[in-house]
Symmetry: C2
Subunit: 476 residues, 2 copies
């Protein structure tokens, strides 16, 4: 039975049709000059489709196979490597040469052939920690891959100490202690209301484990950390056994549910968690959080309704207050769904956010049409100290994916470095990596790495310097 | 110094700009159904450019790096693999991350760094013989690569018995004896007028060797064989030391030179060669030859002048004649520069030719514009027994490259099988392999293998059945 994506509503023949190949480019073509103070690897994950998914999907981007792109920088040159994560999920499908997995996170719709196969798709985010490159998908254990060859080693359970059934794709690495704060939800299996929170030391060993109960079965896609607290928002996308039995994908938006935010002291246990509450909010990813006396400030792109414009806002949790409400105020009008920062300042007071935006000359309301985000053709740096917003415009025929911040080698000052991200060049039907000096964004890319093929739009990215990769590998 | 092809006159940003990547596609997307009687591998070679060539090239397609595409068919599925041949030439450039080779076959323009490096580019044609997949370029020894992984083993000298300095890209395999008739020209080094002709037995051992002198320094890109003779045309593209010293590529057309054709008995020695003569003719590749009593009939695409339309003609060599002229008559008006046949009938009387053509509804003269071939958008089967010409039309947005004939598994009748070739789909900016039933070409492709990327236009192709690949490997 031949693979044929024609007629599938999610897969036009265009730029974002499945990539399906693994490739190497030695010494990529580069327009401009790679700055000599960039040394390390830019990793980008993509949710791809080896086989044709079911047609009743609402999250087509999240129900496919993890595909890693690595851009390796050294001495002003870049080599590219793209590989699938060889998950048990993918390899089972390859063996049978057809789709075996059902709709998004609904095990009742899977083919019986994969009833006992690890479902981890490794398609959302990747982190380098404890000498391992972990590729993550929130409903299963992570996969560990080689940071250079991208060869898949297998799933990883932290020396047998990760007792939860899943690990989310958005752990947080504390730049001060080097610890990774990670968690799983539905942590005793699908539909369970358990949350497991782990602290992992820089050598990759679990040093603390706390189990919580979620107020309801909402999505817990991301968390935030400060130096004192772990902030755990539960968002109003919900599910139930009945829903899975109806054959639908796991999640459905329910605006009648509250936003519940658990605040757990980093040195606390389950009895120390405090749940704050607010109206339903549509958000998935959080930019940063920090302590301000006994208050916690948390910045995030969020919208009021399921389909209203996203905006960078600040939530405030007052640990001295007697009530359980959190505060909310706007920080920037950049829509910011691809918000990133200089991760050396994560969990700490910070100044700069780096976000993707559609044409910034449009008034905020017009930057969204029909509830859908327009093409993202700028990266913007906004300044929480009130300085002007800087804008990089990629071009008329390109759209931008999530950026990563790349510190200038040898520099420690916040925001001193590069904003790097992959663009889809529709005119050339090819992907390209844009490298923008974060202090001179208006001047355009200092270098563009031109790939000789198109890559389906990606999910998340991370940069790890050569020094960082070498150092952790030695210590782990 | 970054790789940047911008501004090079030979490399627009379009479809045929350098490929530069190696890739794997597991279980290619297929439109239609792969016939179950196709089992084996379709190999396609491409001249690619890892680094930017000099700008004064007239043969940009031939002065780059060999890049092999393999489409492996089994059980109705196809897997794709693309790899560079890891020639010493390519690896030297990779090491220095820049172009080191000068203009086409002019060693005086090479960088001194590669003065002692094997110059074989392995970019023209490939043959499976004696249990080895040989990748050929006429100015050097061949490379041997793995037929499955495409890994490069190294250059190959036939157990030390290939004493010539080069092997041409167009040996001939005798389907009756399984022997390979192969040769080198400029066979004692660049600009030498020596021709070395070898017979290689099915196990890959040289059994005969004949050295000839070329009448002048013309190109000897291809030969033909019959059951009794080897036909060796010397064509009026010539060269000289003065030309190389001027910094130009090796060849220049000189219409004042004759076409000289050596006819060597397969069991003869140098004293048995007979040279026939005719006016200058522009041709590179020969379709077939056969014995007809004491005459040799040889079919080939050929044009009268350097830039006039190419046409399939028959040259006749009368071994009984006393004069040294050969005859010429037209066989078909298909322009036929990509002419191939059912290779099981090579050197024998045959019926069908398979050629690429531009829109066949155009009068022959209009099928060429300004001396340049128009887009090749059809494959045609012409019938030397006078039957109608069959035509496969690929589509308005595609152009076709050389086809290979794929015998239907288990069948021995001439022409019973498939015509297979890669098309450039400009609308989708992607390459695709079309599989056409040779007996029903008007009905269109029975299957199209859709690659998720574009490949620069290729040079030559060959099909080897799974049985053939297994059998020879065992015997060699």
């Amino acid at each position: 039975m031949a693979v044929d994506f024609r007629g599938h509503p999610l897969f036009p023949r265009g730029f974002n049709s499945p990539t399906r190949f693994e490739a190497d480019v030695y010494d990529c073509e580069v327009w401009g000059e790679i700055p000599s103070d960039i040394e390390g690897t830019f990793y980008r994950l993509q949710c791809d489709f080896a086989y044709r998914p079911p047609e009743n999907e609402w999250l087509p981007g999240f129900n496919g196979d993890g595909h890693v792109s690595a851009f390796r920088f050294a001495n002003g040159s870049v080599d590219y490597k793209g590989r699938y994560v060889k998950t048990d999920r993918l390899m089972a499908e390859r063996r049978h040469r057809r789709r075996l997995w059902g709709v998004y996170r609904n095990y009742l719709t899977d083919d019986p052939l994969v009833a006992n196969v690890h479902r981890g798709a490794a398609n959302t985010h990747l982190y380098w920690h404890g000498g391992k490159l972990l590729v993550l998908k929130e409903d299963a254990l992570p996969y560990s891959i080689d940071p250079v060859t991208l060869e898949t080693y297998g799933s990883w359970d932290f020396h047998g100490k990760w007792t939860a059934t899943s690990m989310s794709a958005h752990p947080k690495i504390d730049p001060v202690t080097g610890e990774m704060i990670a968690y799983g939800y539905q942590a005793r299996g699908d539909l369970s209301d358990d949350i497991a929170v782990y602290t992992v030391n820089p050598a990759g060993h679990i040093t603390n484990e706390v189990w919580l109960k979620s107020p309801y079965l909402g999505i817990i896609h991301d968390i935030a950390i400060t130096q004192k607290y772990i902030v755990i928002p539960v968002i109003a996308r919900t599910t139930s056994l009945e829903r899975l039995q109806s054959g639908e994908p796991m999640w459905v938006w329910d605006g009648s549910l509250p936003t519940m935010v658990g605040v757990l002291p980093r040195d606390g246990d389950a009895s120390d968690v405090r749940w704050f509450q607010g109206p339903a909010r549509n958000t998935l990813h959080f930019l940063n959080a920090m302590d301000a006396g006994n208050r916690i400030l948390m910045d995030l792109p969020v919208s009021d309704e399921e389909r209203s414009p996203s905006q960078i806002k600040r939530w405030t949790f007052d640990m001295n207050s007697r009530n359980d409400r959190f505060g909310e105020e706007a920080v920037s009008t950049a829509n910011g769904v691809l918000a990133r920062m200089d991760d050396r300042y994560l969990s700490l007071p910070y100044r700069y956010g780096f976000v993707g935006n559609s044409d910034p000359s449009l008034p905020f309301d017009e930057a969204r049409v029909g509830g859908r985000r327009r093409v993202t053709n700028t990266y913007q740096r906004y300044d929480l100290m009130g300085g002007p917003t800087s804008t990089f415009f990629v071009g008329d025929t390109q759209s931008l994916q999530e950026s990563g911040f790349v510190p200038r080698k040898g520099s420690t000052e916040e925001g001193d470095g590069y904003v790097m991200g992959v663009a889809s060049n529709y005119a050339e039907m090819a992907s390209e990596l844009h490298i923008v000096d974060a202090n001179r964004m208006e001047e355009g890319a200092v270098a563009v790495v031109k790939l000789p093929f198109r890559l389906r739009s990606g999910t998340h990215v991370n940069w790890f310097s050569a020094a960082e990769l070498a150092e952790q590998e030695a210590s782990a």
